[in-house]
């Protein structure tokens, strides 16, 4: 028996050591083929992104083919993975020392990953090849961490107001203006929503508006009312203000008091998305992210895009994922080449003219620049008047903090507000106290 035990132990060890040695040999085999020691060797870059939409994946692949043509010594190995749990997967790969060389990184994760010291510092090359002033303010503010750059974005996206022109024509109501300077006030928006709501018996067959009970959208209206989410350096929550209170109450009243808005989760749970409700005329106006235009434009109904209803000033917020490189990449130079390409006009235009993205480069907001991407088949009438709405957007507040528990606390407390009758006062007070505990950690 003692011998058999010995044997098992020996076999265990030999198996474990075999497993270990096989991985080490793999590494040593891989390394030389990847090092550009002779100058002619082809460098392979692993590039990971998420599948946001088939179109996006397609465009990324198209862009990468172009990049490889321009840089014949670099081979990019693109691996798109499902968007859900992307950050977890990336972090696990980084922890296991198996991270891709270059990867997408959500703007809201960017600072917390940088804090963990896993991102390659790109500042030196960035300053050689481009400048923060090439980018619109919101993008520049997000990329810049204490004067250093660890990721470069390719675009920006913002909440906007979509509407179905047919429904407006039917009710004989003028369209919401796309020019942000002429944006509807909240009261004008509310009045229109009331007029656009149609009741048959006690059943509502057509709702006026939908979408604001999603904190991504809600926060844009809070900014519009001069409110804020955090203090200036992002160390404390500063949401418990009369400005935020007014916005939350107004949004709640829209559904509960005026009955011109359906509940979000009800419709989501039958698989009916906001854009389908808009398409079928079940809802006249929908607040959604600007990326939705790509799909809406293909849905065969007259869609309009307008500036968000404004409280004190007409504004929205902007953010978009950045492309970063792993701190441990063996090919920092090639990685930078790819990152640079991914932020180039050349690359972004393909996705902008499909309606999925908006440019993050100032050069694409000039009259000349707009011509490069404007697409009549996608961008509705009046869209050109609206472009500065994106260019002048404020940075999405959650991109400037590192504690990702805060958004969950906010969702939990606003759930209580929207669905369980918690008052706006309590909601904001709870968000502030609970989030500050997390932010103080």
């Amino acid at each position: 028996m003692r011998m058999s035990r010995m044997l098992v132990i020996v076999m265990l060890f030999s198996l474990i050591s075999a497993a270990c040695s096989s991985t080490t040999t793999n590494n040593t085999v891989n390394t030389p083929s990847n090092t550009p020691d002779s100058g002619k060797k082809i460098v392979t870059l692993d590039f990971m992104g998420w599948e946001a939409s088939p179109l996006e994946t397609e465009s990324v692949k198209k862009g990468l083919a172009l990049f490889m043509e321009q840089n014949p010594n670099i081979k990019v190995n693109y691996q798109p993975v499902p968007g859900a749990q992307y950050a977890q997967k990336l972090l696990t790969m980084l922890a296991g020392n198996a991270a891709p060389d270059v990867f997408f990184l959500g703007a809201t994760e960017y600072r917390s990953f940088q804090e963990r010291d896993v991102l390659l510092d790109l500042t030196a090359q960035f300053e050689l090849d481009m400048s923060l002033s090439d980018f619109i303010d919101s993008s520049a503010e997000i990329m810049n961490i204490d004067g250093n750059i660890y990721g470069v974005s390719s675009c920006t996206v913002s909440p906007v107001l979509y509407y179905n022109k047919d429904v407006f024509d039917k009710e004989n109501i003028s369209y919401p203006p796309s020019d942000p300077a002429k944006a509807w006030t909240w009261d004008e928006f509310r009045e229109a929503a009331k007029k656009l709501t149609v009741k048959e018996g006690d059943k509502i067959t057509q709702y006026g508006a939908f979408g604001l009970e999603n904190f991504y959208m809600t926060s844009a209206e809070i900014l519009s009312n001069g409110g804020s989410l955090f203090n200036a350096d992002g160390t404390k929550m500063a949401i418990n203000t009369p400005e935020a209170n007014e916005v939350m109450q107004s949004i709640l009243d829209l559904r509960v008091k005026d009955e011109v808005s359906p509940t979000a989760k009800t419709l989501e749970s039958v698989g009916m998305k906001a854009n389908q409700m808009l398409q079928t005329g079940k809802v006249a106006m929908v607040v959604d992210g600007s990326w939705a235009l790509q799909e809406l434009a293909t849905m065969d109904f007259p869609v309009g895009v307008a500036a968000l209803p404004s409280f004190q000033k007409s504004t929205t917020h902007g953010q978009a994922h950045v492309h970063s490189a792993s701190k441990n990449t063996e090919h920092p130079e090639e990685a930078w080449k790819l990152l640079k390409f991914l932020s180039s006009e050349e690359y972004q235009i393909g996705l902008i003219n499909e309606g999925l993205w908006m440019p993050n480069r100032r050069s694409l907001y000039t009259e000349e620049g707009i011509k490069k991407w404007y697409n009549e088949a996608v961008h509705p009438e009046g869209f050109k008047e609206m472009v500065m709405f994106f260019a002048e957007a404020e940075a999405y507040p959650f991109t400037l903090i590192t504690e990702n528990k805060v958004i969950d606390i906010i969702n939990e407390e606003t759930d209580k507000l929207w669905y369980a009758g918690q008052s706006v006062d309590d909601t904001l007070a709870n968000i502030e106290t609970r989030s500050n505990v997390e932010l103080a950690k």
């Binding site: 044997l7 977890q88 980084l94 963990r116 509940t263 749970s269 039958v270 528990k405 407390e413 669905y419």
Partner: protein
């Protein structure tokens, strides 16, 4: 197994006196033992168990005394994760949610599956069809089940409220109500797991001798007396098994919640494993999540011990 081994592996000699030719080496002797072969054949499984179960179990116990985000160096924090848990409002909420879930779904699941098993043990037509039908949810994918039940619970178009409406009840907004979301999740979960318990009860029922019922008939017992004084007591070992297993699995419930409500609205359906998952893979607090896992482990342990103790007290064997 042994017999088969002997057939397929003729190199393994049978037990008993082996023809000895000189002094066999120690290795040879070892290879002649059945135990050695059993060990070798089990080795892949044992290695898997060690690498993916046993070692992680101990590692996570150690982790529960640290603060670790997978990237930064681990920090020993002693019991602070546990003291923090005791003061974490959210944890206390998900703790009670877990008790609520298990406390309702386990008894409900057992009672319903017992009745089903007894009903399907009678000589009724299409018995096999019914058995298969009730077992089908068990083997269905939870993802598909969750999607279907989300439709059923839809307050405007869903079947649930349609039928409630027929009997004059205005159904709630099931999954978006902080009050009704948990009952909705429990109903789905009970329905999904009914077939498994039913099957075990059916097996248990086969083990009860007909003699008891015949004797009871002679004594003039009614059907409910037979059920209460014969079926239920004689099924006790089965009930014990089913209870323990159901409690363990309902303390560990995750997929139902994650797929149907993501713990919402306002954390009303968030359970320990869901919060644990969030801490580990969303907030990257591995140590804190491990501490939660051990609290859960002790909950399961306590429940199991209580049941063993009760079992002995009742003298069930």
């Amino acid at each position: 197994m042994n017999a088969e081994n002997r057939l397929t592996a003729p190199s393994v000699p049978m037990r008993g006196p082996t023809p000895v030719s000189g002094k066999p080496s120690k290795l040879k002797k070892l290879l002649h033992k059945d135990g050695t072969w059993a060990f070798l054949l089990l080795l892949p499984n044992i290695l898997g168990f060690l690498a993916f179960t046993l070692i992680p179990v101990f590692a996570s116990f150690a982790l529960s005394f640290t603060a670790w985000d997978m990237l930064s160096p681990m920090q020993w924090v002693g019991l602070s994760n546990y003291t923090q848990l005791a003061n974490d409002e959210t944890f206390i909420k998900v703790f009670w949610n877990t008790i609520y879930f298990a406390g309702v779904s386990v008894p409900a699941g057992i009672v319903i599956s017992l009745f089903l098993a007894v009903a399907l043990d009678q000589n009724i037509r299409f018995k096999k069809f019914y058995r298969a039908a009730f077992f089908l949810p068990v083997v269905s994918s939870m993802v598909a089940v969750a999607v279907v039940w989300q439709f059923i619970y839809n307050p405007e178009y869903g079947m649930m409220n349609f039928f409630l409406d027929k009997i004059g009840i205005r159904g709630p907004d099931w999954l978006t109500s902080t009050v009704w979301a948990m009952p909705a999740v429990i109903i789905t979960s009970v329905w999904k797991n009914l077939g498994f318990n039913m099957l075990i009860y059916l097996a248990g029922l086969q083990g009860i001798s007909e003699d008891y019922y015949e004797a009871a008939d002679i004594d003039g017992a009614r059907w409910h007396q037979k059920f209460l004084f014969i079926t239920v007591p004689l099924l006790s070992p089965t009930t014990f098994f089913v209870t323990v297993m159901s409690f363990i699995s309902s303390f560990q419930v995750f997929d139902t919640v994650f797929l149907m409500t993501q713990g919402g609205p306002a954390r009303s359906t968030s359970v320990i494993v869901h919060y644990l998952y969030e801490n580990a893979f969303k907030y990257f607090s591995m140590g804190y999540a491990s501490a939660m896992a051990y609290i859960l482990f002790f909950m399961v342990l306590v429940i199991t011990l209580i049941q063993f103790w009760r079992q002995q007290k009742w003298g069930i064997h």
